[in-house]
């Protein structure tokens, strides 16, 4: 029994062992506002207003940490990468407002505000409405198909969150420095996908062998936001 278990673990480790993919996200102001007016408008209506309340006070770091990265073309990791994640409804916001999960994961939406909230999505990968529910209640939903799911609240039009459902377990948000690492990726050729709410989807092919790690870098365009007055705290 014990031997069998240890053997299985070792086998698994051997199977899973591979090289890492390390990446970096850079956001550069290389586009003029004129060229990205449409996206800038969306951007400002969405996350741009959050810039002002960022704890670190660095909008670029904030945006780097709002980039979702995942691998396409790899083997399905199956149930191994499945997680149980949570997005809270706090202060009329979804916290966090960006969640990256492998397909098959379940996300719960606890309401901690003293008012009703509602969670719904009209996105193609997962179309749902969890209904209105008051403080203390939570409702959950499982995302099976990969894709990008935009989540909203019927009662609060300014509440929005994005759930990126990745095809496998190599999925993450970049940190504030823009760095991310996919560990133990088996040798092969993959497409690394970087997604940002307003900048869109960026793809890069990377080949990885057993012996060496791979590096990948993305440069996302960025436009200086027109600072809006942050919503007053009520």
């Amino acid at each position: 029994m014990w031997i069998k278990l240890v053997t299985t673990l070792l086998l698994g480790a051997a199977l899973l062992s591979g090289s890492d993919i390390r990446g970096s996200i850079t956001i550069e102001r290389k586009l003029t506002r004129h060229n990205v007016t449409a996206s800038a408008g969306i951007y400002q209506r969405g996350t741009a207003v959050e810039l002002g309340v960022d704890a670190e006070g660095d909008p670029l770091a904030f945006e780097r940490s709002h980039v979702a990265v995942y691998l396409e073309g790899g083997p399905s990791s199956g149930a191994a990468g499945v997680v149980r994640a949570s997005i809270e409804q706090r202060d009329r916001r979804f916290v966090p407002d960006l969640l990256v999960i492998p397909a098959g994961s379940t996300v719960s939406f606890p309401n901690v505000d003293p008012i009703f909230h509602n969670v719904f999505s009209l996105s193609k990968p997962r179309n749902f409405d969890l209904g209105n529910y008051p403080k203390g209640q939570t409702r959950m939903i499982t995302f099976l198909a990969p894709g990008t799911v935009a989540v909203y609240c019927h009662l609060h039009s300014n509440m929005a969150a994005t759930i990126v459902v990745a095809p496998n377990r190599w999925a993450a948000r970049a940190d504030r420095n823009g760095a991310f690492t996919f560990k133990d990726v088996p040798a092969g050729t993959y497409t690394v996908v970087a997604w940002h709410k307003t900048a869109g989807t960026f793809r890069k092919t990377v080949t990885i062998s057993d012996q060496s790690d791979a590096e990948v870098g993305f440069t996302l365009p960025y436009v200086e936001p027109t600072y809006m007055k942050p919503l007053a705290h009520r």
């Binding site: 003293p114 008012i115 209105n132 008051p134 609060h156 039009s157 009520r234």
Partner: protein, 573 residues
């Protein structure tokens, strides 16, 4: 009142009054024009404001219709309608939504009420943010105004439809501030003041004055004696009697006050300057008019003081009237002078006859007064006595013995020596003469001669015993003439002395009784008279020699005369 003052006043006062009236009228008209202009500009301003207000209202109505379609709010209302277990939180949710609407659209009051008009939820803006309000206590209308916590809110409503059916009413409101219109405004409801911007007017007073104004018409009430302009800024609410009327109420007088003050100052300065100019001109003109008159008056005054009626010099310039005046005066003065001279002549004749009457009392003294008068005049002329004194001396000498009228003939004509008593009586005659003449006006000038012609130089004379110069020269002259005539006249008891003898006697009492200068002048005069008499009557050197022999003429004078006779004879031949 002096003529100059009268001239000045009669030219200045009408001008001053005219100028003051003119300035007052111009000032009033300017101020009225200014006020009209101000009123017109206020009216334009307020018409523009009214239009702007109406446009805002229309825009707000459109905005409200947009909000009524806000899906989030509809979801909230549905939640409120359906939620039963946690209705408090559902209400909180809706209130939260209302707060957000109010926050993002800058409303101060947001309320939803149900299909039947029952209030569901409402929030009101406070200093720190929005808070739910007690709807039962507040009971706000769906249209119009309500006040909460001493603040006035203006509200408007829009229905919320769901699938074509009205499910609720959204009511939004903003703080109503009468001062936001840019002009002083007042809000009325059924004639009562709900809000007014002017703190200095009591609402009751505004109500009273605005009661006469039609809701949609201009109005110019007078409040507290000030002109106001009130224009309708808008009707708010249901219409009819229940409407709220917003009117401007601007104090036109106060608005034009600074300008009026400037104008007042300007006109005051200009008016004072004009008055000053008028003053100067009036003073000049009155001076130029009154000055010739003042000169005439001064001349007349001088004449009055001196008694002379001096004529005005003939002047070609000056005003015709002044010339007429001076000429008239000259004529009058001439007439007065002539009549005065006539009077004087008559008086002199009277005095002469008085003296004759006196002299006539005694045959021996007949002609005495006339002779003394002639001698005295001659002496005075020789001594260069001023012309006007000659007449005094002439008449004074005529009268010098007038006092003898009061002395008895027995004494006066007594042939022998006088007793001391009689002598004393005689010595009274200067005082008596004085006393007689004293009472006759116009004879004052002769009193000195009459009273003092017996004073001696050394003080031994009578009646006062004056010394030297204390006796006036006139009296001293008459004294010499009197003594000379007395000595050369025949008397019942003696013959008169000859000229030379009398002169000798006179010279002998020079310094003690007689004034030496007078005696000397008289002596010279006597020589000259003789010479002239001789010269007139002497035809030859022979008769001259006779005269020298008879001691009628001095040798030096005879020599001089000889030359003259020789010259004359040579010329004749």
């Amino acid at each position: 009142m002096r003529f100059a003052t009268r001239t000045f006043l009669s030219s200045f006062v009408p001008f001053a009054v005219l100028i003051a009236l003119g300035f007052w009228a111009v000032r009033a008209s300017v101020i009225e024009t200014v006020r009209d202009g101000l009123r017109a500009s206020a009216r334009d301003n307020q018409v523009a404001l009214t239009r702007e207000h109406a446009r805002n209202e229309a825009r707000n109505q459109k905005l409200l219709q947009g909000i009524a379609e806000y899906p989030t709010l509809k979801a909230g209302l549905q939640l409120l309608a359906t939620e039963r277990s946690a209705s408090d939180q559902a209400r909180n949710t809706v209130q939260d939504q209302l707060s957000e609407i109010g926050d993002s659209l800058s409303f101060d009051f947001v309320m939803v009420s149900g299909a039947q008009g029952e209030p569901l939820a409402a929030v009101l803006r406070y200093a720190g943010g929005f808070a739910p309000v007690n709807l039962i206590r507040l009971n706000p209308p769906v249209q119009g105004f309500f006040s909460a916590d001493d603040r006035l809110y203006e509200v408007a409503s829009v229905p919320i439809h769901e699938a074509g059916v009205q499910v609720a009413t959204l009511t939004v409101g903003g703080r109503f501030d009468v001062s936001r219109f840019g002009v002083p405004a007042v809000l009325l409801h059924k004639g009562a003041v709900i809000a007014a911007q002017m703190r200095d007017l009591a609402p009751a007073q505004i109500e009273k004055e605005l009661a006469a104004c039609a809701p949609a018409a201009d109005c110019e009430p007078r409040i507290q004696d000030q002109a106001y302009l009130s224009l309708p800024l808008g009707l708010i609410g249901a219409g009819g009697d229940d409407s709220y009327v917003l009117r401007s109420l601007q104090n036109v007088d106060a608005a034009s006050a600074p300008l009026q003050a400037v104008l007042r100052k300007l006109f005051l300065v200009a008016g004072l300057m004009a008055l000053g100019a008028t003053l100067g001109i009036s003073a000049l003109s009155s001076h130029s008019i009154a000055r010739p008159l003042a000169d005439v008056a001064a001349h007349l005054r001088r004449s009055g003081v001196t008694g002379e009626l001096a004529e005005f010099p003939e002047s070609r310039g000056g005003a015709q009237e002044i010339r007429d005046l001076t000429q008239g005066f000259n004529h009058a003065a001439k007439a007065v002078r002539e009549s005065r001279e006539r009077l004087t002549r008559a008086y002199v004749q009277f005095v002469g006859s008085l003296a004759q009457a006196l002299d006539a009392r005694d045959a021996y003294t007949a002609g005495h007064s006339r002779r003394v008068s002639e001698y005295s005049c001659a002496i005075a002329k020789a001594m260069n006595v001023p012309e006007q004194d000659l007449e005094t001396i002439r008449v004074g000498a005529l009268l010098h013995d007038l006092g003898k009228i009061g002395i008895s003939d027995l004494v006066l004509q007594k042939p022998g020596r006088l007793t001391p008593e009689e002598n004393e009586l005689i010595r009274q005659h200067p005082v008596i003469g004085r006393r007689i003449l004293e009472n006759v006006q116009g004879l004052e000038a002769y009193l000195g001669i009459v009273e003092l012609h017996h004073e001696n130089l050394d003080g031994s004379g009578y009646p006062h015993g004056l010394k030297g110069e204390e006796t006036p020269l006139h009296a001293r002259i008459v004294k010499v003439a009197d003594a000379y005539d007395a000595m050369t006249s025949d008397r019942p008891y003696r013959r008169g002395k000859s000229h030379a003898e009398a002169l000798t006697v006179l010279k002998s009492v020079c310094g003690s009784e007689m004034d030496p200068s007078v005696v000397e002048a008289f002596a010279l005069l006597g020589d000259q008279r003789k010479q002239q008499t001789l010269l007139a009557g002497t035809q030859s050197l022979h008769s001259l020699a006779q005269a020298i022999h008879s001691d009628d003429i001095s040798v030096p004078a005879a020599l001089e005369m000889t030359e003259q006779i020789v010259v004359r004879e040579r010329e004749a031949s």
